[in-house]
């Protein structure tokens, strides 16, 4: 007879210990920062740090919306196009002489409406989120290009009274970072301390059980696309303010960035698991990584390869961790 330890699996145990939970991501981020400092003396340069933070903020805001959507087991491919439409309208309205105090709410409303359209198609129309938002993505980009006549819309003289949002700073911290902090704080609060937040998780983990538990599954699903559209339009405003130009191509590809950030942050594409903290760290990881590669002069083409590999790696890692936890 073999030794009684035949079935002990030492490797597996060691492996299991080596896989940190979602929160362990903070160490990955810290490691990347240390690596960046070692690789390039300019990483800690205040101007560079500001830049990275602005980057985190812009992608982060969209990703918070994406996290809401993915928590319900959905996906929103249209955020980039919503951003484009909103960027162009912001610029057009400003150039048309509208006051900033009117432009901002109006543009946010456009984002909300586009998100609502997504939500309606998915809940009432029963169209799969992937398809509905893909359609919206294509339509939205077309709309942005039509509105702008295919050309970037410069703010001209209006730039001066609008630049603060994107370029200004408070207490030495860029305004977009403050905005992101506020958005993230509210999102964390909502997911953790409100019934609505719970319902988002419920819908994502088991829609049938959610329905039987008295949750209005359609309404919750609808709402996350509205949130996502709203945050995309908020990002658009900051974008235009920062660049002082409304580009019809603004935000192209940001949906993939946001999905990557959300997934790297540990939110499951199968719904019901994850959260905003992970997304914040995910945004940090991608931004620092891009920054390192920029500082090292790595070509943007190579950067894409690396980014793609990291997305696959992150998902693989998450699945591996879960599989280990189950056995």
């Amino acid at each position: 007879m073999a030794s009684p330890n035949t079935m002990i699996e030492t490797e597996e145990r060691r492996f299991r210990l080596a896989l940190p939970k979602g929160a362990g991501l903070i160490w990955v981020l810290a490691g990347l920062c240390i690596l960046a400092t070692l690789l390039s003396s300019s990483f800690l340069n205040p101007v560079n740090v500001m830049n990275v933070m602005r980057q985190v903020a812009l992608f982060g805001i969209v990703s918070v919306g994406m996290t809401f959507v993915i928590l319900t087991k959905g996906i929103d491919l249209s955020v980039g196009s919503i951003l484009g439409v909103c960027a162009v309208t912001t610029a057009l309205l400003l150039v048309g002489g509208w006051p900033v105090a009117a432009v901002v709410p109006l543009v946010l409303l456009i984002g909300v409406c586009m998100g609502a359209l997504n939500g309606l198609g998915i809940t009432l129309g029963g169209i799969p989120p992937f398809i509905m938002t893909l359609g919206m993505m294509v339509m939205g980009r077309g709309l942005a290009l039509t509105l702008a006549n295919g050309q970037p819309v410069g703010l001209g003289a209006r730039a001066a009274d609008f630049m603060w949002l994107g370029r200004g700073a408070m207490l030495g911290v860029p305004v977009p970072v403050w905005i992101f902090a506020a958005v993230a704080a509210i999102a964390i609060y909502v997911l953790r301390y409100t019934a609505y937040g719970r319902q988002i998780y419920a819908v994502g983990s088991n829609a049938e059980a959610a329905h039987l538990s008295g949750i209005d599954v359609g309404l919750v699903t609808f709402s996350v696309y509205v949130v996502s559209g709203f945050l995309a339009s908020l990002t658009a405003i900051i974008f235009v303010s920062r660049l002082t130009v409304g580009e019809p191509t603004a935000g192209t590809g940001i949906e993939l960035e946001a999905i990557a950030i959300t997934v790297i942050g540990g939110t499951s594409l199968f719904g019901g698991e994850g959260g905003i903290l992970g997304t914040i760290i995910g945004a940090g990881i991608l931004a620092v990584l891009a920054n390192i590669m920029n500082l090292l002069g790595i070509s943007p083409f190579t950067q894409q390869i690396v980014k793609g590999a990291i997305i696959i790696g992150a998902v693989l890692y998450e699945m591996l961790r879960k599989r280990r936890a189950r056995h």
């Binding site: 035949t6 079935m7 699996e9 719970r198 049938e208 059980a209 959610a210 056995h327």
Partner: protein
């Protein structure tokens, strides 16, 4: 107690040559739980071995180790004298071990034949799948079990009971030498169970061994030659069935004697809370009328497919109704969704906790409180502290066995999950509770607790309970009135104390 412990060590009942399976010193831990500690256990050829124990005792875990789905932390597995190192599900199937899980997974989009054969579908000489042979052989395997389903039907369209039969047919078609049945009676109706028992006996005569897990001890006595009791992850005793009595088995499982099976009822029904008249829905429900009064437990029984669950689902607005009306406290109400039902004070605990009742990846706390979060501060500002206190209280009252209230509910044993389903209804503070199979998969001790809890709620707080159950003793022991359903209609209303024969007479058509 001493007299019971360690019997297997003192006088082995089966001789070494007849032993098919031997498990020695099995240990298994999960975060926060020692699921199995030093379990040694053997099964002889052609033996039907009962495995019993409370919810969370470790029965399913032991079987998952046997099937290769889980890896033991320590211990050995010996099959026909051969020590198995690193078992995997595939290698154990090849060695003739088939485990039919409590929460089994099937490929829902595949046909019955495909499920039975999976990746062993017969092929013709050009390498193409030979569907004719596949169908024929699938029919043959099902024939041996005494049931018949069109092999081309999708498994997703079958009832749970039919799916279980498909699983068993699959095991048989693979020439399994040892078949583990993890709580088949939790999903099978009486007639199907009877068929299953016949099949087990036939196969047993051919030398196939079985491990039979059930919380219904009657079945264990009826079917098994030996019974093993697990408690808190340890093997307490293995004995031939003749040396057990129901009481000694329960005492051994629970560690204390369990009083009278059903609590004393002292019904004083008040005015009507829920009235249903002329409810219809396609062929499932035909002109169903009933009345449920405050402080009353009404049971609904009938064969599988008689429309029992459909009735509950129609009342709570899960399935749309085509005709009839529902009155609540005398007022006619249109209940368009479960949401509306909950807001009117109607709670519903569905039949299939895995797909309808629970959020498996979420915590116990999440699951218990989700349908009424307003109990903890406002819905815009949940008081998590208060929520925790309240959930801990439920966990204590219902004796839910869980390491923490933040443990994912999917890792709890089946019975403990069911207790959480009940806790969820308690938290929802309904005054009418519709409950489908309240004690499915729940152990004797916990069952008694659930019964007591229901009776207590009914008698002290005036809850009205409408309960669907396939277990007649439960219906008879608990209910003040019994409605027997047959083919979507209420075939009879019987008073408390009706006999099983009487109920069956109305449930079956003759």
């Amino acid at each position: 107690m001493n007299a019971i412990v360690g019997v297997s060590a003192e006088k082995p009942v089966t001789s070494a040559a007849d032993v098919f399976l031997e498990m020695n010193g099995i240990e298994k831990s999960f975060p926060g739980v020692k699921a199995l500690q030093g379990v040694s256990f053997s099964v002889g050829r052609g033996e039907v071995h009962g495995l019993v124990g409370e919810n969370g005792a470790g029965k399913s875990t032991l079987m998952k180790i046997l099937s290769g789905a889980y890896h033991a932390d320590a211990g050995t597995l010996v099959l026909s004298g051969e020590t198995i190192t690193a078992p995997t599900p595939a290698s154990m199937i090849d060695r003739g071990v088939a485990v039919i899980y409590q929460e089994f997974a099937q490929a829902e989009h595949l046909s019955v034949a495909e499920n039975i054969f999976m990746n062993r579908l017969p092929r013709n000489r050009f390498g193409r799948i030979d569907w004719k042979t596949a169908s024929r052989e699938a029919m043959h395997a099902m024939d041996r079990l005494g049931f018949c389903i069109d092999p081309r039907r999708l498994v997703g369209s079958l009832s749970v009971a039919q799916r279980q039969m498909v699983e068993i047919a699959r095991a048989i078609s693979r020439n399994a030498r040892l078949i583990v049945l993890d709580e088949p009676s939790a999903v099978l109706g009486d007639t199907e169970l009877e068929k299953l028992f016949r099949t087990i006996r036939t196969l047993q005569a051919e030398g196939v061994a079985f491990i039979y897990i059930s919380h219904r001890l009657k079945e264990v006595f009826e079917l098994c030659q030996k019974a093993t009791v697990l408690r808190d992850g340890k093997l307490v005793s293995t004995r031939p069935i003749a040396e057990w009595t129901t009481d000694s088995l329960i005492q051994c499982m629970v560690g204390r004697p369990i009083a009278d099976y059903f609590p004393q009822r002292n019904a004083r029904p008040g005015e009507e809370v829920l009235g249903v008249s002329g409810l219809s829905r396609g062929k499932a429900l035909k002109n169903v009328s009933l009345s449920l009064r405050k402080g009353e437990i009404v049971g609904i029984c009938g064969l599988a497919g008689a429309g029992r669950s459909e009735l509950l689902r129609a009342i709570v607005g899960r399935d749309p109704i085509e005709g009839g009306e529902i009155r609540l406290h005398g007022k006619v109400r249109r209940i368009a969704s479960p949401r509306k039902a909950i807001s009117l004070g109607i709670g519903f605990a569905p039949e299939d906790r895995k797909t309808e009742g629970l959020f498996l990846s979420q915590s116990v706390r999440f699951n218990v409180t989700i349908s009424r979060l307003g109990n903890f501060g406002s819905t815009a500002r949940l008081n998590l502290g208060k929520e925790r206190v309240s959930v801990r209280d439920y966990v204590r009252r219902l004796r839910v066995k869980t390491p923490e209230i933040d443990t994912a509910i999917g890792t709890l044993s089946g019975g403990n999950q069911q207790k959480c389903v009940i806790a969820k209804q308690l938290n929802a503070r309904c005054d009418v509770l519709l409950i489908d199979e309240p004690t499915r998969g729940v152990d004797v001790g916990a069952r008694r607790e659930i019964y007591e809890l229901l009776v207590d709620l009914v008698e002290r707080e005036g809850l009205a309970v409408l309960m669907v159950s396939s277990e007649l003793p439960e219906i008879i022991g608990m209910c003040d009135r019994i409605l027997v359903m047959r083919e979507g209609e209420i075939a009879a209303e019987l008073p408390r104390g009706a006999s099983e024969e009487e109920i069956m007479k109305h449930a079956t058509f003759n």
